[in-house]
Amino acid sequence: MSNKNPHSAPRAGQEDDPQAHQSDDHPQKRKLPGESSSQGGFSRRDFIRGTGIAGVAMSATVLLGDEVAKATGRAQAEGKWMGPGPVDITLRINGQTHKLQLEPRVTLLDALRDRLDLTGAKKICDRATCGACTVIIDGKAHYSCTSLAIDAQGHDIQTIEGLAPEDKLHPMSQAFVDNDAQQCGFCTPGFVMACKAYLDHEKNPTYEGLQKALGGNLCRCGTYIGIRHAVLEAAQKGGRA
């Protein structure tokens, strides 16, 4: 399986699995400036996923609860305490500034979808596997499901809604239409953003290159053949924003 995305962009959130990336200079390991550190061995996602939503307390809760206490203690000692209640958060999205009141645990994806009604980025796996939540931050593709909104402050966030005015199609989106690179379409916006990020960095895309660049996105209907054609066609037509 080639689900990871070593070439096109670092995907924020992949640091959730510290064992997956040992090398500090691996692109996926790179953090946003100001992004919270997971060095304490604890993250929001670990906590949520570890406890699950089953109706009884499980031993995992107890263990993670202990980690929470330790991490909280460290944060308090270092004067980094924020939340758990809503805090002021300012996000720059598609060139516009949005002031929000969000709990620090709110992901960028949830902030976009639930608070700003920017629903182009989709929630499918919600844990940095499928790429449907891909947005472009400072020119690079990111998984917004595993980026915290609070950490995305001070960065340029582009969502698919920002690619083109409402009555126009971005050339990448047009190439998806022309090459029938979508069926149910639920994974499509994430693919479009990953394709755009790839073409923004790669003037001469290749078959092999695009397969690596788009390896961090998944489709269930099976639209990969159309997507291959769409990327190559968009590159030929100069499909950059």
Partner: protein, 709 residues
């Protein structure tokens, strides 16, 4: 009235390569799926589920959860004293201001259970024991004993396909909103016209009070036909809270409970004469569909081997129940049959191509289709040039091989209704309570209507995905294209004939002499006696034309074939199978949109690669839980995993004259068998089960020890 499809040489749109009309909505990210619907004051719902595979609920205490920040409604769905039959079964629903608050509250719901013994293993009937099995069918045709005596070569083997899930990109769920005693129900569903009644019953209102809305949906594959426990729960929460509620299943919940394809395995013995003529078949098959018994499959698949004995046993497990999965039973039966036949061909030292061709006369009415499709596929794969006898694939660690398979499906039209409207201002619309799962249904409807009206595609408004439109059948079993295209054809022919009647006098003609072509209403073959569409519609005065039509058997047909050939490269050191190329040759009667039809086949091949190599729902007997309810470990193929895919649609006049036949299921049936056969050809050993994981490949090679089934 003459509804028949226009002759092939007179079609402006039908059969051409046309981009789907909702493509721009999707690739711009602007269309709203159910998951994207945000209503003023909307709450977020969540289901609290059982962690146990089998247990009795002894106590439920929601008092603490109800006091949690943001919580607005809590509803018990499965009460004290009830018996849970699988992990993930829904017990309590709640709604809160944010998703995170809903999760916080869910952790405060206290449910006590009396755990009961569970059984979750997808294993053989003898290992499962009589307590967990049910013999479903046993039948004999011809004389199997005599048949096997007649056989000069027999082959025996075990084959099968593991349990997989649907893993729809858009999880299951809905948004519910009450206005008085009326309920609006945005749903990701394959059954817009059908689920309202079930939801209405669940919340105690007349079905007429529910409007189901689903303009686009993020995949179903057979798992989204029902109103669902979570649909009723969501409506109840919205009622209690007095606010709209969105409740989409979390991914782990979806993978655990929202649909699975039953497993199917079989011990097969099959015999042929030395010249390859099939004479006898014996199989004992089994599989699990969850707590209830699965349906009994009609084995052997396609080949009506004259002397046969088949037996099927259901294995009952405490796992989320099976649902229809694209071509129910067929991919599994195809693996069992086509792999057994391929092994027999290898034992006969025959090229499986020749062996299959030799036996096509016992495939029934599609024999001629298979003959043509095998020849075409062989040409596109260069089969005769590339094929080598099993296992003779060189000395290096990477072994290449070829495999083939054939399949069949019905695809008769579902019952759908269409209303067509032509307005005095020249606007034209068609409306059906159908749904587009991503297959191109909306585009098919638009093409048929525009063809009939002689208008460009963009001149026709297609209204689907709402239960307020005329009822249409659920989208399952490749039944939609036939249903909606024939209903639309009839409604639009009826409507345009009413228009002809209005304008005939002004053209000095009679209605039966008129035609709608190229944006004009004109005397047949005489463009000098014509009115533009707009001028013609203006003659309607102030009253629009409305006409209805329903599914018509004479515009549709059923029963298709299909041939696939696969080429793989197997790394015998790691057990990793790489798809090099798959060729699919498929018939589906008269094709409405060649572009979206081909996409259906490409998609089916990719889904086939996924279920053949990667995906499997893995259960743990110790805990009774699914071990991989997430998308890291429930694996789907990525863009680099699918190799080169070649699709050829059969568009001969003989296919065309059959009318419309659905296409969703057939091409997804063969990949398991063709890939398994290609792997066997490459490595000289049979990997008995799909998915062909590296471990299973190494086990087949005898270089790894490990256990399954």
């Amino acid at each position: 009235m003459d509804y028949k499809w226009p002759a092939a040489d007179q079609r402006a749109l039908i059969g051409k390569r046309i981009s789907r009309i909702d493509g721009p909505w999707k690739s711009s990210g602007r269309v709203k799926y159910t998951y994207d619907v945000n209503r003023p004051g909307m709450l977020y719902g969540l289901m609290v589920t059982s962690p146990y595979a089998h247990a009795k609920i002894t106590k439920i205490d929601t008092s603490e959860a109800e006091q949690m920040p943001g919580v607005k409604a809590v509803q018990i769905m499965f009460g004290e004293g009830k018996e849970v039959l699988w992990a993930g079964q829904e017990i309590v629903a709640l709604a809160a201001e944010t998703e995170d608050q809903a999760r916080d509250a869910a952790r405060k719901v206290k449910i006590e259970y009396q755990q009961l013994p569970h059984f979750v293993l997808d294993t053989t009937p003898d290992k499962a024991g009589s307590e967990h099995t049910k013999d479903l069918t046993e039948r004999t045709a011809g004389d199997p004993t005599a048949g096997f005596q007649q056989a000069e070569v027999t082959s025996e083997g075990r084959y099968g396909a593991s349990v997989i899930t649907h893993c729809c990109m858009e999880s299951h769920g809905q948004v519910t909103e009450w206005k008085g005693d009326s309920l609006t129900f945005w749903a990701t569903t394959q059954n817009v016209s059908g689920i309202g009644g079930e939801v209405a019953q669940g919340v105690g209102i007349p079905a007429s009070k529910v409007e189901v809305i689903s303009p686009v949906m993020g995949g179903g594959f057979g798992s989204k036909f029902a109103g669902e426990t979570w649909g009723v729960a969501c409506a109840q929460l919205a009622k209690k809270a007095g606010r709209p509620v969105k409740m989409m299943l979390e991914r782990d919940h979806e993978l655990m409970v929202a649909g699975a394809r039953p497993s199917m395995y079989a011990d097969v013995k099959v015999g042929a004469k030395r010249d390859g003529t099939l004479v006898a078949w014996d199989s004992h098959s089994w599989g699990t569909a969850g707590p209830a018994a699965p349906g009994a499959p009609p084995l052997p698949y396609i080949f009506k081997i004259p002397n046969n004995h088949v037996k099927h046993t259901g294995v009952l497990t405490n796992t989320g129940p099976a649902r229809a999965w694209r071509a129910p039973n067929h991919p599994q039966m195809c693996v069992i049959t086509m792999c057994a036949l391929d092994d027999l061909a290898a034992k006969l030292h025959m090229d499986p191509y020749d062996f299959f061709v030799k036996n096509l006369d016992i495939t029934g009415e599609r024999a001629k289709t298979y003959t043509a499709e095998l020849a075409k596929a062989a040409e596109l794969m260069e089969w005769k040039k590339k094929w080598h006898p099993r296992g003779e694939s060189g000395s290096g660690p990477i072994k290449r091989g070829l495999g083939l398979s054939i399949h069949t499906w019905g695809g008769a039209a579902n019952m759908s209704n269409c209303a067509a409207t032509i307005r005095p201002d020249g606007s034209a619309e068609v409306a059906l309570g159908t749904q587009d799962l991503g297959v191109g249904c909306r585009t098919v409807v638009g093409i048929v209507a525009a063809e009939t009206f002689g208008l460009p595609l963009e001149a026709v408004t297609v209204n689907i995905g709402d239960s307020k439109y005329p009822a249409a059948g659920a989208s399952g079993g490749s039944t939609t294209s036939g249903g909606v295209s024939s209903a639309t054809r009839r409604a639009t022919v009826e409507a345009v004939n009413q228009l002809f009647a209005k304008v005939a006098p002004s053209l000095g003609s009679t209605p039966d002499q008129l035609e709608a072509v190229g944006g004009q209403i004109r005397v047949k073959g005489n463009s000098s006696k014509s009115l533009s569409w707009k001028q013609a519609c203006a003659k309607l005065g102030t009253t629009p034309i409305t006409a209805t039509g329903k599914t018509s058997r004479d515009l549709t047909s059923q029963g298709v074939g299909g041939v696939q050939m696969a080429e793989v490269a197997v790394d015998t050191e790691t057990g990793i199978v790489r798809v090099q190329k798959i060729v699919a040759v498929q018939d589906c009667g008269m094709i409405i949109d060649l572009k979206t039809a081909e996409s259906q086949v490409y998609g089916a091949l990719i889904m086939g690669v996924t279920y053949s190599l990667y995906e499997e729902k893995i259960m743990d007997q110790q805990t009774g839980r699914c071990l991989n309810p997430n998308m890291e470990f429930y694996k789907l193929a990525g863009i680099g995993d699918v190799g080169e895919l070649v699709v050829h649609m059969m568009t001969d006049p003989d296919d065309d004259k059959r009318g419309v036949i659905g296409l969703g299921e057939p091409p997804v049936i063969s990949p398991g068998a063709s890939l398994s056969n290609a792997v066997a050809n490459a490595i000289g050993a049979r990997v008995p089960y799909i998915p062909m994981t590296p471990q299973r490949v190494l086990e087949a090679l005898g270089t790894s020890k490990g256990g399954m089934a």
